[in-house]
Symmetry: C2
Subunit: 118 residues, 2 copies
Amino acid sequence: MTARTTGERITDHPEAQDITLQGVLEALADPVRRSIVRQIAGARGDKACGTFDIAVTRTTGTHHFRVLRQSGVIRQYYAGTSKMNTLRRDELDLAFPGLLDAIVLAADREAARAAAPH
Amino acid sequence: MTARTTGERITDHPEAQDITLQGVLEALADPVRRSIVRQIAGARGDKACGTFDIAVTRTTGTHHFRVLRQSGVIRQYYAGTSKMNTLRRDELDLAFPGLLDAIVLAADREAARAAAPH
């Protein structure tokens, strides 16, 4: 995984012990950010920034990724010129067992319900 | 459980199908409201409004209880002159499996960590 570390230029990830429930819930109490997390959770492997389906401007998108990163929900790193995104699943599961899965499951259900014909 | 219905004067509880993940996460992304939920979860039976340990004014407390009620996290009812609080656990578990438990567990852990000597 050399590419993952040699290209690293993003330095504001919190340490695992500094991830707070408050920060994680604030991060996930936004529909765009939940959508980002769902898309990472549903991807095979990590997901590049340009590949998300989110209906916001680039600036707004950057803001949402920053909130997710600084709250400890996602980790970002460069692979060449691509900024990649991965969930900090192991660290979150250790700190808050079941929380990420429960929120992703709930968000999946809500999205499925929203997409269903009325 | 006649007392539970005959004394009912609180009419802004959402129906189960109208409880949204957005609303629940917004409600729980506040430390005072998480503390209220933790205290109900840790109580034997339902818990009267005057019995919570929260360091806010009465007006602020009322606001927080309203947010929890209108988001569908808690149900409030009168028993005589006491306003009682109960978690809408079954309905939340059905809509968002594991979410309430994961958040209460995480909040318990975080409170225990905050209370531990440094």
